[in-house]
C-alpha cells in the first residue's frame, strides 16, 4: 500500500552515508511555538505503538552533543544570527546521524517534533539569506511527510498568554519574565515590550511558514480546531505512509 520510495537528501547530502537501506519512515510535525505539537506527537506515538509500529521521537536541541551548549549560549544573549543558525545545524546534524538515520535503518517510524523549517523561519527573520540557510542544511534527509499545524495569530495569542504559563515562568521558574524571551523575538526587539514583540515576531514566522508550504510540500492541518479533530486529521494523513495493512 505505501510507496517504496528511496530516501534522498535536500542538497549535497552526506557523501559518506548510504540511504538505500533506510526502510523506516520520517514524519515531521511542524508548527510555531505553542501550537500544540508535542501533545499531538505523544498521542500519535501511542496510536502507532498500539498498531505495532516501532516509534522514535526527536525534537530540537535535544542532542546529547549540543543541547547544553545551545542553552548556555542562549542564556548569554551574545549570539548573532549566523552563530545561532549554525548551532542549530550542529544539533540537527548530530541527531540526524546518531538518532534519526540509525532508527530509520532499523525500520522505525521517526516522529520529528519540528525539523529544519523552524530554523529556516527563525534565521530568515533575523536576516539570514534564504538560499544560504537552505544550503547549510543540504545534508538533511527529505522526510516522507511534513504535517504543518497552521494557526492564525489571533488564535495563537490566547494560547501563548495564559495565566498558567505566565505565572509559572515569572514566579515558579523565577526567570524574571512572563513571556518567553526567544519566542517573543526579544533578541531582535520587534516591539516596545514582550507582548508587542511577540505578536510581530510570530506574524513574521507564520508568514515565512506560508511561504515554505508549497516549496517543501507541507500538508496543512488547521491547528485552530479541537485537539481531537486535529488528531484525527493527522492520523488520517499518516495512514498512507504506514506499511501495515491493519484497518
Amino acid at each position: 500500500m505505501s510507496l517504496k520510495k528511496k530516501k534522498t537528501f535536500y542538497g549535497h547530502g552526506i557523501p559518506y552515508l548510504k540511504t538505500d537501506d533506510l526502510t523506516g519512515k520520517l514524519i515531521v510535525i511542524e508548527g510555531t511555538d505553542g501550537v500544540g505539537r508535542s501533545t499531538q506527537i505523544e498521542e500519535l506515538r501511542k496510536w502507532l505503538e498500539v498498531r505495532g509500529c516501532g516509534v522514535v521521537t526527536t525534537g530540537w536541541t535535544r542532542s546529547p552533543l549540543m543541547g547544553q551548549t545551545i542553552e548556555e549560549a542562549k542564556s548569554g544573549h551574545t549570539l548573532n544570527m549566523n552563530t545561532l543558525s549554525l548551532l542549530y545545524a550542529a544539533d540537527f546534524a548530530d541527531r540526524l546521524e546518531q538518532e534519526i538515520i540509525p532508527a530509520l535503518r532499523s525500520g522505525f517510524i521517526v516522529l520529528a517534533d519540528r525539523y529544519i523549517y523552524t530554523v529556516f523561519a527563525r534565521s530568515v527573520i533575523r536576516g539570514a539569506d534564504r538560499s544560504w540557510i537552505r544550503k547549510v542544511f543540504g545534508f538533511a534527509l527529505v522526510p516522507d511527510a511534513v504535517f504543518y499545524m497552521r494557526i492564525g495569530i489571533e488564535d495563537l495569542i490566547p494560547r501563548a498568554i495564559t495565566s498558567q504559563t505566565l505565572h509559572k515562568r515569572y514566579w515558579v521558574d523565577q526567570s524574571g519574565e512572563g513571556m518567553d524571551y526567544w519566542e517573543s523575538g526579544m533578541d531582535i526587539r520587534l516591539g516596545d515590550d514582550f507582548y508587542d514583540s511577540f505578536v510581530e515576531y510570530q506574524k513574521r514566522i507564520l508568514k515565512e511558514f506560508d511561504r515554505m508550504t508549497p516549496e517543501f510540500h507541507f500538508q496543512v492541518v488547521d491547528a485552530a480546531k479541537t485537539f481531537e479533530e486535529i488528531n484525527r486529521e493527522l492520523k488520517q494523513g499518516m495512514l498512507g505512509y504506514l506499511d501495515d495493512d491493519e484497518a
Binding site: 542538497g11 549535497h12 547530502g13 552526506i14 557523501p15 559518506y16 546529547p64 552533543l65 549540543m66 547544553q68 551548549t69 549560549a73 549570539l79 548573532n80 549566523n82 552563530t83 549554525l86 548551532l87 545545524a89 550542529a90 546534524a93 548530530d94 540526524l96 546521524e97 546518531q98 539569506d129 538560499s131 544560504w132 544550503k135 547549510v136 543540504g138 545534508f139
Partner: protein, 237 residues
C-alpha cells in the same frame, strides 16, 4: 550573499591570512610579519584558528567520547568561526585596522573535505565569511613538514595525525597519508581562490622578505584612520 568570501569586503581595514599544512612554517612567518607591521606603526590585530569559549567545551566533549561525525565536526567549527568573525575579526576591520589571521576558511575547506563532507556544501556553509585582502599559501612537501613537526616534540596528537579516519594504525604513516590528502585539497583551493603561493622550503628570512614585498605592494593606498596612528615603535629594529 550566497558566498560573501568571493567578493571584496566593504571595511576600511585589511585582512591578511596564512594557510598551509602543519609544519609549513606559516605561523612563524605571520608572527614575523606582525612584528614588522607593528614596527611600521600600524595597528594590528592578531588571531588564530582556535576554538572560542562558545563551542570549545562541546568539541572537547565530542572528541573525547568520539561523538563527532565529519558533518558535526564541520558545522561546529563553522559555528565557532562565525562567533570569532563577529567578535574578533569584523570589529578591527571596521575600525580600519590590519587583521592577521593564522589559518582561515580554507583550512576548513581542505580538512573537512578530506574527512568526507561535500566540497560545495562546506563552501556554502562558510558563505558569511569575509574575503581576505591578502591570502598566502605556504607550500611544503610532506617529508619536510613531518620532519619539522617531529623535531619539536615526541609524538603526534590523535586528530592531528587523522587517526580517526582509520588510514593507518601507525601515527606517523597516518599523519603522512592524511596530510598528503590535505595538501592535494590545498593545491586545488589555492587555484580556485587565488591564494599566493610561497615556497615554504626556502630559508625563513628569504620567505619573509618576499612576503613583506607582497604586503608592502598590497597596502599601497591603505590609510589607517588618524586615531589609529601610533606614536612610538613597539619593537626597535
Amino acid at each position: 550573499m550566497a558566498r560573501q568570501f568571493e567578493h571584496d569586503h566593504p571595511y576600511p581595514g585589511k585582512l591578511i591570512i596564512v594557510e598551509g599544512i602543519d609544519g609549513s612554517g606559516k605561523s612563524t612567518q605571520l608572527q614575523l610579519l606582525h612584528k614588522w607591521l607593528l614596527n611600521s606603526k600600524y595597528r594590528v590585530f592578531y588571531t588564530e584558528w582556535n576554538s572560542s569559549a562558545l563551542v570549545k567545551e562541546t568539541i572537547r566533549r565530542g572528541k573525547k567520547k568520539n561523538l563527532l561525525t565529519p558533518t558535526t565536526f564541520s558545522v561546529l567549527h563553522a559555528t565557532d568561526f562565525a562567533d570569532r568573525l563577529m567578535h574578533l575579526i569584523i570589529p578591527p576591520l571596521k575600525a580600519g585596522m590590519i587583521v592577521c589571521a593564522d589559518r582561515y576558511i580554507y583550512t576548513a575547506f581542505a580538512r573537512d573535505v578530506v574527512r568526507g563532507v561535500h566540497p560545495e556544501w562546506v563552501r556554502n556553509l562558510y558563505g558569511f565569511a569575509v574575503k581576505p585582502d591578502i591570502a598566502l599559501y605556504f607550500k611544503v612537501p610532506i617529508e619536510v613538514s613531518l620532519e619539522r613537526i617531529l623535531n619539536g616534540r615526541i609524538s603526534l596528537k590523535f586528530h592531528e595525525a587523522g587517526m580517526d579516519l582509520g588510514l593507518s594504525d601507525d601515527p606517523k604513516e597516518s599523519y603522512s597519508l592524511f596530510q598528503s590528502k590535505i595538501l592535494e585539497e590545498y593545491e586545488s583551493i589555492s587555484g580556485e581562490y587565488g591564494l599566493l603561493t610561497i615556497d615554504a622550503t626556502m630559508p625563513i628570512q628569504k620567505q619573509q622578505a618576499q612576503i613583506r614585498e607582497i604586503v608592502r605592494e598590497k597596502l599601497k593606498g591603505y590609510k589607517p584612520a588618524p586615531f589609529l596612528l601610533k606614536k612610538e615603535n613597539v619593537y626597535v629594529a
